[in-house]
């Protein structure tokens, strides 16, 4: 199977739309716009007026220059100017060039200069086509930080949350949960950068004492940008499951020199509930024991997820799809863990080659494998996923994410 993953070009558009008051503006063909404007609308809920006419064509998200074949020959930076002229509902515009237009040498800086748009225009240097999603997301957020933020005096006891992309299922709930942990420890959160902060919050973010990261790979470049303002970033293991969330809280508390207990108590309440649910029946709580799971997600949550499902439920990994971009240290840690539970072969076979009880993957693969009988339960934890209206958030990180995953696993697991 050739499972296609979202690349850095598409994620950079999502990154630009992740900040309230900031707009992604696409310089490219209409075909590049359709998917992202829909995705942006469902992942980043906000009220926009419907816009008719050129650049928008009735969809408010990700206005686009609708470059055509002749523009590839003659250039079309004038379209960028005209498009920017129409933007009256944003403080920041990020002009994202499509893979094609990134090659034709349009003068985007000049186009922005000539436009009447009053706010800040950010022009990322790279298109990030075919790079992993995190590369485009992180780089775009870093570009926005660079353009918007100015050095400010440090406000003690404040933090920014970095590395939580809006392409993550249930990101709003995750923001709220992790902000809650920090606030419980007396740390004020200035901005969730790249996850629903406003432009004003972003401007204030350069006063933070520390940044705390969620997904390391989604904020490496952004963290470097903040270092220019003297702000260090606290990197922890991606907090999926109770144990790594606990470790995330401890890590943050240690850097700030605060007592982690109030945050741990919040986490513990969820842990207690999960434990009581599992203990409620005679044998139901044990049905996942020795059940198998496979994981295919384009992120660093693979290792903590694998460790959690093993340690918490005694589940065993069947197949783990390896990402090309993982560094050797991460890969080594994963291999050592798998070897310790005699599952070294999990990374050496294609994900579809072996049946498992639970698959945690993108939504489409999860559905497909369920239909094919390759897994009993397919849990949708990543994009691409079916476009649907999400009234109830379905997070994957933190305690709430753990409860959701447990809920999905135990809803239909067949083992006993």
């Amino acid at each position: 199977m050739n499972i296609v993953r979202m690349d850095g070009f598409l994620s950079s558009i999502m990154a630009a739309d992740s900040i309230i008051g900031c707009r992604a503006v696409m310089h490219g063909p209409g075909g590049c716009r359709t998917h992202t404007s829909r995705l942006s609308a469902t992942r980043m809920l906000r009220d926009y007026e419907v816009r008719e006419g050129p650049f928008y064509f009735n969809h408010p998200r990700v206005p686009c220059t609708y470059v055509d074949d002749e523009d590839y020959v003659n250039g079309a930076d004038y379209k960028v100017t005209e498009l920017l002229d129409t933007v009256n509902d944003a403080e920041v515009c990020v002009v994202i060039a499509s893979p094609g237009t990134s090659l034709i040498g349009d003068d985007l800086n000049g186009a922005a200069y000539r436009s009447s748009f009053k706010g800040i225009t950010v022009i990322p240097e790279y298109c990030h086509m075919s790079e992993p999603a995190h590369a485009g997301y992180d780089s775009t957020i870093a570009d926005i930080v660079k353009s918007v933020c100015k050095k400010k005096p440090t406000r003690k006891g404040t933090a920014n949350i970095l590395g939580l992309p809006i392409i993550l299922e249930g990101w709003e709930t995750t923001v709220s949960e992790f902000k809650g942990y920090l606030e419980a420890m007396g740390i004020e959160v200035l901005a969730c950068v790249g996850a629903g902060c406003t432009v004003d919050e972003l401007k204030e973010s350069s006063a933070a004492e520390f940044n705390v990261s969620i997904f390391k790979e989604y904020c490496a470049e952004t963290a470097s940008e903040y270092e220019q303002f003297g702000i260090k970033t606290i990197f922890s293991e991606t907090p999926i499951g109770f144990a790594s969330t606990k470790s995330w809280i401890h890590n943050a508390a240690q850097f700030f020199g605060v007592n982690p207990t109030p945050a741990l108590e919040i986490l513990h309440a969820a842990e207690i509930r999960a434990s009581r649910v599992l203990k409620a029946g005679l044998t139901e709580g044990f049905v996942a024991r020795c059940a198998t799971f496979s994981v295919q997600v384009d992120s660093s949550l693979v290792l903590p997820l694998t460790k959690w499902l093993y340690g918490y439920l005694s589940m065993f990994p069947e197949c783990i799809a390896v990402c090309d971009w993982w560094d050797t240290e991460y890969r080594k840690e994963l291999d050592e863990f798998l070897a310790s539970i005699h599952c070294s072969d999990a990374t050496s076979k294609p994900i579809e080659s072996s049946r498992c009880d639970v698959l945690l993957s993108d939504g489409l693969t999860a559905k497909l494998f369920e239909k094919k009988g390759i897994c009993s339960i397919g849990i949708d934890v990543w994009l691409p996923s079916k476009h649907r209206m999400n009234f109830v958030d379905r997070p994957i990180l933190g305690a709430k994410g753990a409860m959701r995953i447990l809920d999905d696993i135990f809803y239909d697991i067949q083992r006993n």
Binding site: M1, N2, I3, V4, R5, M6, D7, F9, L10, P29, G30, G31, C32, T34, H35, D47, V50, E52, G53, F57, N58, H59, V67, D68, D69, Y72, S98, P99, G100, L103, I104, Y126, C127, M129, S130, E131, L364, T365, K367, L368, K371, K372, P384, K386, H387
Partner: protein, 395 residues
């Protein structure tokens, strides 16, 4: 989209990952969620991508293409389409030479489709380009079977709800004396494509200006008679379609018509209490055929107060037809609402869905007799909906 639905053909998208990602995600609704092929395959099993990155922009992407073609052939693919996106078009990758060279070397069929993303024009140009290539697989024959019919396009929808209406279409075809030969692009294998020439007749599944040209050229190339009437949307269209079948084949289909008419009239009668004497404003797409809608209004005793037409899109309608046309804006229909006070606005303008009035998208009924009855029921209910639902009033 027009190659990936054919089982037995592998499609290589020569371009960045994002191109493949967007296409596959959009198609997977039909393939995974409804499994239109009935083989539990995802589009991802039939499509792969050369994942061109910045280095390809400097050094070219042909090496990546060659590597992927070799891999696909090793995996057993014998028929491969290579479709180029904007990036290889701009950097000048010569996929025609590459495909020809690899085809000779590996002994498999590798067909280049150098549309270069938008380089070859809009969606219709791209579609025609690829369909021309696919039609080259059709085996020419003078032996035409009058009982076989090709369906051009797919009357089945990716939305699971519509599954219940498919049988209505299949029953209609069967009652008219036809057996489906090939559904393209829809549920078909390469063998189904090859045998398209055996069917004496072809019928298109939708009546849309842009598809009419495409399907006309398919029929020309396979030597089959293209029915003037597409698969019918609406009662009168069903009768016209059956009349055309009678005319073409000499079959007496009056009993079939009478039976369908009886069911239809009885169902419409039940809906009229909601619709009789009600008034509508209508906004249509220039490329669509809405005859079925106006015939339905007549049957339901609905008065059409005014019609408007959406902006002509030059990508869809061509520059000649679009020249000098007045652009449509939502304010026009808002003014009509103020002056005419219709009971309902039916509009295919996406912006009109947000009008502060009782408004629904026209869309269209599923083809076949059951589809129009379902549509009529929903239309009837629409007249009795609140002018604006509660959720729309929250800001």
């Amino acid at each position: 989209m027009y190659t990936s639905r054919i089982r037995g053909i592998h499609t290589i998208i020569h371009g960045p990952t994002s191109c493949a990602y967007m296409m596959c995600c959009n198609s997977d609704l039909g393939t995974i969620h409804r499994d239109l092929h009935g083989d539990k395959q995802s589009i991802w099993e039939n499509v792969s991508c050369t994942d061109l990155n910045d280095s390809a922009s400097v050094f070219g992407g042909i090496d990546s293409l060659e590597k992927l073609i070799r891999k696909r052939v090793e995996l057993g693919d014998e028929h491969i389409f290579v479709i180029s996106m904007c990036v290889p078009g701009i950097i000048g990758d010569n996929i025609i030479d590459c495909c020809s060279r690899m085809s000779s070397e590996l002994g498999v069929t590798i067909i280049p489709v150098p549309v270069d993303g938008i380089g070859a024009g809009g969606v219709i140009d791209g579609r025609n380009f690829v369909i021309d290539k696919i039609m080259e697989f059709v085996e020419k024959t003078d032996e035409k079977d009058p009982n076989l019919i090709n369906i051009l396009g797919d009357y089945r929808s990716g939305r699971e709800f519509f599954t219940i209406f498919d049988k209505s279409v299949e029953d209609l075809l069967s009652a008219a004396g036809f057996t489906i030969n090939t559904i393209y692009p829809g549920k078909c294998t390469l063998d189904d494509i090859k045998k398209m020439g055996k069917a004496m007749y072809s019928v298109q599944s939708t009546d849309d200006y842009t598809f009419n040209r495409t399907y006309s050229s398919i029929c020309d190339s396979i030597g089959s008679i293209r029915m003037k009437e597409p698969l019918p949307q609406g009662m009168k269209a069903t009768e016209r379609w059956l009349d055309e079948v009678s005319e073409l084949t000499g079959r007496n289909l009056d009993p079939v018509k009478a039976q369908i008419r009886e069911t239809y009239d009885s169902e419409i009668e039940k809906i009229k209490n909601r619709t009789s004497g009600r008034k509508v404003l209508v906004v249509t797409r220039p490329s669509g055929n809405y005859q079925w809608l106006f015939e339905l209004f007549e049957d339901l005793n609905v008065e059409v107060m005014k019609t408007r037409e959406l902006t002509y899109n030059r990508w869809v309608m061509g520059s000649d037809l679009s020249e000098g046309k007045e652009p449509y804006v939502s304010d026009m229909i808002s003014a009509d609402i103020d002056s005419l006070s219709p009971d309902l606005v039916l509009s295919d303008a996406p912006s009109d869905i947000h009008l502060k009035w009782r408004c629904r998208t026209i869309g269209g009924p599923h083809v076949g007799p059951a589809g129009i009855i379902d549509y009529a029921k929903r239309l009837g209910m629409m007249f009795d909906t609140p002018v604006e639902e509660e959720w729309r009033r929250i800001s």
